[in-house]
Each structure stands twice: as C-alpha cells, then as structure tokens.
Amino acid sequence: MSVISKSTIQNCAEVGSSVLLDINDGDKMTFARLHSTSTLKVGNIKCNLEALVGQPYGAVFELQSERNSAKLVRLPSDSSGTKEKHQQNEADQNSEEVKGRDNRALVDDNKAQNLSSDDIDRMKREGVSGREIIEALVANSASFETKTAFSQEKYMKKKQKKYAPRVLMRRPSARSICEAYFVKDPRKIGFCRMDTLALMMSLANVGPKSDVLVLESLGGLITAAAAERVGGHGSICSAYYTTKRPPIDMVRLLNLDDATAVSVVRAPLEKLVAARRSAFNPKEKPVPAVLEGGKSAQVQNGRAVPKQEGQIENLAPVRNGREEAKVSVPHQDSSDSVTADAKSIGGEAVPMEMSVLHNMDVDHDDKSNKAAVEAREGDGCVPLDKELNAAAEGEEKSVKGPRPGNEATSSDIQRWASQGFSSLLVAAPELEPWTVTQNLLPLLSSSSPFVIYSPYQQPLADCMYQLQKNNMAVAVQLTEPWCREYQVLPLRSHPHMQMSATGGFTLSGIRITNPV
C-alpha cells in the first residue's frame, strides 16, 4: 500500500462557488453563490459574503455587527459548539450544586432582566459587539444564577443566536439540498425525503459508467443527485415532455466540475423515443428489445399478433399503444397540490402534447423560472426559490466554463438510441406511472434497473400490478423508506420528538427481455 490514491475532492470555497449556509445550527438553511456582491441577511442584519471566499467548507463564522456594518468572522474550530455542550453536560452531571437546582422558585413575571430593549438598542448604536451585549444581559439577569446548567446553556444559546449568529458554510450536496428543501419547501421536491433519494440512487445503480435517463419535476433534485454519482464518467439525460423545459436549477447548486457539468444534458422525450424506435428499425437490425416492447404493448391491446409476421407490422400496435398512452396523461385541471406545484416549477401549465424544442436558450429558461418565482411570491413559500435563482444568476456572473443542462446533441441521442440507457429515474408525481413506464422502459437496455418515485402509493401499486402482469420486469418492488433520528446524550438517548411521517414511495425493478 505504498501509493495511496489521492482524493480529487475540492476543499475550499472559491469565487463562484455555490455554498449552503447553515445559520445558528440548522435554524435556517440558505444557498448562496460567492461573488463580490453576494450578501447574507440574518434577521435585519445584512452582510457581505466575501469573507467566505478561500475558506474551507465546514468553517464556522460569527456574524459580528458593529454600528452600521456587519461582518463574518471565522471562529476557531474548537468553538463550534459541541465542546461547550459537552462541558456543560459534564458540569451538569458532576456538580452537586447544579444538580440540586430546579425551577421551583421561578416567577415568570418578566422582571428578571434589568436591561430594557431601549438599553440594548442604545448599546447597539454605540457599537457594542454582540458578545458584549450577551455578557451584559447575563450580568443584568436576576434569575440567571439560579438556573440549572441546562437552562443557562439554553439561555446563552438563545441570546447568542440573536446577538451573535453563527454561520456554518457547508458544501452543497444532493443530500443537503434535499434536506434543506424538505424542511423549508417540501412541495418543491415532491415531498421526497433524503433517504428516499438515496435509496433511488442505489436501486437504479447510478454511478460511473452509467447513462441515466431522468424524467422529473422536482426542480432538478434527481438530476443533481444522479450527476453527483456519475461524476462526469457517464451521462445524465434530463428529459422533458412539455414545450418549455422545466428548470433543473438545483443541479447548479452543486459545484460540478467541467466534465460533470457537460455530462448533464436535456432532451425532449419525444426525440428520445423516436430515435430509439428508428435505431431498432427492423429492416436494418432486428433486435429482441424492440420485439419485447412490441409484445407487451400487444398484450396490452389485447391483440394476438403472430410472432412470425413482419417486424414492421409488429411495431404498429406499439405506436398505437403509445399514442393512446399519451392522451391519458393527466391534465392540468387536477386540483392536486403537488401537481399544481410541479406546474409552477415549469412556470406554466403542462401541455398535453410533447413537443420538440431545439437548443432552447438558457437565459430564456432562467426567465421562465423567474416568472414562476414571481408568480408564486404570494404563496409565502418562496425563500428557497429566490436563493435558487440568486445562486443560478450568480453563476452566470462569476463562473466560466460549461454549465449543466444544455440540449443533448444528436450524436448523444443516437448513442442512447442504439445502446439504451443503463438507469431510469422517474420523479414526476403529476404523471401516471404506468403510462410513463410503458413509454420509457423501452429506452432502457435490457437488464437495466428503473425507479419511479411518487408521494402517492396507489398509482405505483397500479403500475406494479401492470408490470408484473405484462412480464416487463423482474425484481419489482414497491417500497417505502422509514427514517428516524435520535438524540444521543449520556443517559438521555431517545428518538427525536418529531419525525417525518412519510418520505414518499418507490417502485423499482429490472427491465427484462424475452427473445423470440
């Protein structure tokens, strides 16, 4: 083991980097892109983010406000909180004096604090630092000394959050993006929880050397997760079936290297399907995969077409089946919340016909997203959208090099058509899964896995039933991940009081081929 493989992972944030800012230990999560003018607002304090440039991910900063200015100052690693907490706990357990304390003498009459809010405002105006204000508050609190170590800690923490907020700079990953959205705006990601997203990547065997087909309306979350796993050693095709491409801006929250950014492309579904069909034009090259697809469609149409007949005829019912399927795509009138949300991600209603758009201008794409954000401004659930947009725009200003999400070239489409995709990920809760499956499964090479995500169980159950009835796949499974977080502290370990009741369902399987 003389030569160790060196990691190729970047460690520091640079100008143009996308960062996830964790404010006050998870109280608020916010995405930002670092450039000379980017700012952060905590409460009513606004500060420049330039101080973060060149700093390592994982660094902790304190927002120090003095007079009219505020700045982020990096804290040494041992002040990031865990240690203090630990010491407090030790103190709590060891000190008899503290143990004996309780709140029997507490009178909740709001008179314990001698400083008035005017006093504090005055201190702020005079440029007293946040830390000094906290000290003053403690010194002027009549009840602080009588509190248990626990409540002292709690008090200090509360005041620190208010007067000296801490900002932890995290490297955005598909997981952290998912977690942040799941807390703040879960609709935007179709209520897909982080563990479900993780499971999807494993079930679909997404990794280097994969050619992944994604059909999603979760704002780019699935595409981002796949891009991260493939890491530029394969391709991700984020397909769309609407006239305007639904944005996949979440991909841009990741700091993708050039190779990875280039590997993420978009294509209209219609084109992919057409290319796949003509690649298997039976005149040139009869391939079992097409026959299989044809067969299943025939079964579905209840037609018994003898296998010996010409293969061209064989394809006809497939087309019919598909056209019918297309019509049955649920329409925009659905009042369902997720469907509605998925539409607003796209910035427009979902048209019924798929259509082809060549080399759609990316700026235009951004505008449509902006419009969507503006349209939703009244909904009260925009903060992340705004950040997403700001992060995406910042990228334009400060990042050179390729960006993810260009249109697929015709040679890409040809390659996928002849080889087939090696994974299929569907996360479009507004679409009927069986319709999607019938149309998209033939795009996979034989023995390739697929995963369909939905916040709803029933459509997946219906689809699973059909898949099995038509012998289109093996290892078909309908699953629901369950995830519980624990508090682990000496003698005080227990599950968190609150947990997510659902993170969505997945239907997965492996496409099979039955040669004639």
């Binding site: 991910y57 660094a59 990547m201 079930l203 099995q468 629901e480 508090q487 370990s493 492996i510």
Partner: protein, 353 residues
C-alpha cells in the same frame, strides 16, 4: 491491477450486452431466490426449475429468459451492487440496501473519493462503495480476519472491482488506521464492535470537513461512540435509524352488495361500482376463483413455489365458488407481513475544520 479478460469496470453494461464465457450473471428465480453464477463453456446450472446448460446462455443478452431441460425458466441479469448484496456469501452479518444507500448519500461518496472502512465483512457495503468511488477514487478496506479478507478479495475479483478496492488485514480497533492515510481520506465507515476505539485514528485520517459513519446495532455502542466523537475534532453528530417497508400488490375483490334492495348503493353503481375486473383480457381473475397474488413474482407461478405464494395471499372470509352479484376489483397494496425491525443505528459526524 489485475483485470479479467472481460473488463467489467464498475459493472454497468451498455446496450443489450451479450453474455460471454467468463461473465458473472445473476440467475434470477424470484426476488428471494437468486444466485451468482460465473458462466463457463460447457458449464451446468441446476436448480429446482431444472438443469440449465451454460452454452445456451452464451450469446444471449443480459436480462433474457432462459429455459432449462424440464421447461422451467430463469432470468439472467447483469450484476449490480444491489443484486450482489442479495446473492453474496454471508461470512458475517451484512448491510442491506437501505442502510447502504443512506451511508453512501450521507458520506457523500462519489467518483474520486478515497474511502476507508473496517471491517470488510462479507463485502456488501464495500461493493457499493467501490462502485461509487470508481474509476478515479479508491476504497481501502480493513479486516482483522485473514481468511475473511482473502475471501473478500476473491469476491472483488469475481465482481470485477478488484482494481478499486484494497483489502488489508489489520485490527483497526487495536492499531487504528495506518499512518500514511493521515489527512487523506474523504470518508470513513466503521462497523466494529467497539468503534469508539478507532475514533482517534479516524480523526487523524479524515480530511477537513469529511464525514465518518459508524454502524452499531446497540444503543450502548452508539452512546460510547458519540462520547468519543464529542471532541473538538468532530461536529455535526447525528444518529439515524432507517428501515424499508415493502408492499405486496394484488387485485382484490370487494363486494358491494349488502343484500339491501334499493339502498344507497344504487346511486353509486350506475357508473363505477359494477365493473368487470380491470385485467379482463388474458387472466380469468374472477372473484369466485381466488384473487391471485402477483406478489413479487410472475415466476412463482412455476411449479413448486405455489404454496408459499398462497400463504402470503390475503385470507378472505368469503366462501369460494359463490359468484358475487356486484363487486369492485381494486388493486391494493399491503405491507409485507415480515420486515426487518432493526438493523443498526447509523451515527455520522464530520471532521471539524
């Protein structure tokens, strides 16, 4: 590094790749019955569905259905970490897909990452890690059990991942991770009886801001590990438990006739209440017969496995043979009766900067 003649590079197959002599295939009978087989010229494979000749497999595409001498069939699948977990030889307890996927996501494992783990065990997680870090990263796996390490190496040869994994015999609890890894590692995974003993060397090995995960079945282990992690070297301690619930899906027959003459249900059944089974065409799936469970497998309709099929099906109170005048035939999903209740706790922390 050693490569087999058919370079499998991360195990993904493009197009409809054809099975060749020397290939590893996953012989799929049912979801609960799969086997890893290396195809050899003139080789044979025998299972309860009959005798299969490898020669018949060569040249067929992965994902195809092959028929044995007795007319039974199996599917031949391309290997993937997910399938490998289901077929590998158990030398220890192994991690399954839910824990594996969570670990990969939380450790942010991606191509180019250098990952360390101990122990190697049966290589279930190792296989997934290798798949995820290839082709530019590497997995260093440590196990104190000489034979187990050797068996794992053989497995990685077989799955075509040996150039992405290095298995070393070493007692990590006693000796810690090797010094030369100091500050070089992007993620560490521990599955040890006393993981807290390894934490100081984990702190040394991890690059700034990089995560560690410790998997332990017992809360007492988690407790001690968290205490060891509560130093200035780590932050963001979080402990999770993840489980997977699987559903079985079938068509169910629900009667709508309560024997009441013209009660409420008349309004309903005008449209949707009285319906023929949706699956009418090829299947004679009438309520009076026995609502058939298409559980995980169409294969199960093959000869011998019918019994356990029935067990899994819902027992219905209705008497058979009685043709119901009006019924609904919805597709229903029911959680499978048995599930893993607990595998282990997953504790994560990040190296402080």
């Amino acid at each position: 590094m050693r490569r087999k003649k058919n370079d499998r590079d991360g195990e993904v197959r493009k197009g409809d790749k054809l099975i060749q002599d020397g290939d590893l295939v996953i012989v799929y009978e049912t979801y609960k019955q799969m086997k890893a087989v290396t195809v050899t010229k003139n080789g044979e494979f025998q299972n309860r569905y009959g005798l299969f000749m490898h020669n018949d497999w060569i040249g067929k595409p992965f994902g195809c259905k092959v028929t044995g001498k007795k007319g039974g069939f199996v599917h031949l699948l391309a290997p993937s970490p997910q399938l490998w977990t289901l077929v590998l030889t158990h030398r220890t307890q192994i991690l399954y897909i839910m824990d594996i996927s969570f670990v990969l996501a939380y450790l942010e494992v991606r191509p180019g990452c250098v990952v360390m783990e101990s122990g190697t065990g049966s290589g279930s997680l190792t296989t997934a890690l290798a798949r995820a870090t290839a082709p530019t990263g590497h997995v260093y796996s440590f196990d104190f059990h000489e034979q187990r390490a050797e068996a794992a190496r053989k497995d990685f040869e077989r799955t075509g991942l040996s150039s992405f994994v290095t298995v070393t015999v070493r007692d990590i609890q006693g000796e810690g991770f090797p010094e030369e890894f100091a500050n070089e590692v992007d993620a560490v995974f521990l599955d040890l009886p006393q993981p807290w003993l390894a934490i100081p060397s984990v702190a040394k090995s991890l690059r700034a801001d990089s995560p560690v995960c410790s998997f332990s079945p017992c809360m007492e282990q988690v407790q001690r590990t968290c205490e060891a992690l509560t130093t200035k070297e780590f932050r963001d301690l979080r402990t999770f438990e993840v489980l997977l619930r699987t559903y079985e899906v079938h068509e169910e027959c629900l009667g709508t006739d309560l024997g009441l003459d013209d009660s409420v249900n008349n309004d309903n059944d005008s449209e949707s209440a009285v319906r023929s089974p949706r699956s009418s065409p090829p299947h004679k799936r009438l309520c009076s017969v026995e609502s058939k469970v298409i559980d995980s497998e169409e294969d199960q309709t093959q000869v011998s496995s019918k019994d356990n099929l029935m067990e899994k099906g819902p027992k219905k109170g209705r008497s058979r043979g009685e043709q119901l005048p009006s019924s609904l035939y919805p597709i229903v999903a029911r959680p499978e009766a048995e599930a893993k209740g607990h595998t282990g706790y997953l504790t994560f922390a990040r190296r402080a900067v």
